[in-house]
Symmetry: C2
């Protein structure tokens, strides 16, 4: 294994660990628990779960790994804050989307040739990437791992 | 820049970004605000700040980068949960420790020869590292970046 391969493996392991922790937390909640707020007046757990699913789903196009599986989630979970009167997907459907998105992402991460992690991500122009080659796919992976950690930290506060 | 150098730079950038966000958040709080809980009955902001300072300080020995600057923080901020009757350091001292620890860490990260990031961390035996070379310094860096994100996500909930 080259040094670069090893460092990409470390980054993918870190992503896996955080997604597995989030999965263990969210997938074991009852429907009632999913409607608890993380703190008074703050996001409900089901909103955070949908938000993470949508943001992870959006990684496919940003990383140049294909089309999104569930772009329809953005209207509820990204473009708008949590609102009590919003129609939400059933928890069982959300779990299906979450599993589907994370399973496909991980399988693509693990099969991506290691040098392609250093290619620009698709939210960057070729020109900006030429100036700053750290704005690459690997940076997106670390940033989304931090994002998931951030919301997982909030989510666990709703635990009894 | 080699591929491996580039990936280490991406990891250090991710650490910097999260620490800068935490710094911006905690360093601008008044003493009163520091005593707010992130959710009812949960950690106070000052506790989270001290906890992050202590965990970052502990990275020096784990990464083999020298002695800790403030091992005394562990008794208050790591070994015990937040308690209302604990004697806490003054906010101004905590800020000094936080700045000192993170400044020294970053300077060491930026001067560490890139291949040394793949050496084992000191909480691992040589034997276990031989079996799993992903248990290296880079893995510790990503794990502590996630840890800081996790608690920062909680801290921002205390904001009005």
């Amino acid at each position: 294994m080259t040094a670069h391969q090893l460092s990409v493996t470390v980054a993918i392991n870190s992503w896996k660990l955080v997604v597995e922790r989030a999965n263990k937390f969210f997938s074991n909640l009852s429907d009632d628990q999913l409607f608890k707020e993380v703190a008074p007046g703050r996001n409900r757990l089901i909103y955070l779960w949908g938000h993470l699913t949508a943001i992870h789903d959006a990684m496919f196009p940003i990383l140049g790994l294909g089309e999104r599986l569930h772009p329809e989630l953005d209207a509820t979970f990204v473009s708008h804050p949590d609102k009590k009167d919003t129609q939400l997907p059933a928890a069982s459907d959300l779990k299906k989307y979450w599993d589907e998105v994370n399973r496909k992402l991980l399988s693509q991460f693990e099969s991506l040739p290691v040098d392609e992690w250093l290619q620009r991500h698709r939210a960057m122009s070729e020109e900006d990437y030429a100036k700053d080659p750290t704005r690459n796919r690997l940076a997106v992976l670390l940033s989304r791992t931090n994002h998931a950690s951030y919301h997982l930290g909030q989510a666990v506060l709703a635990r009894e």
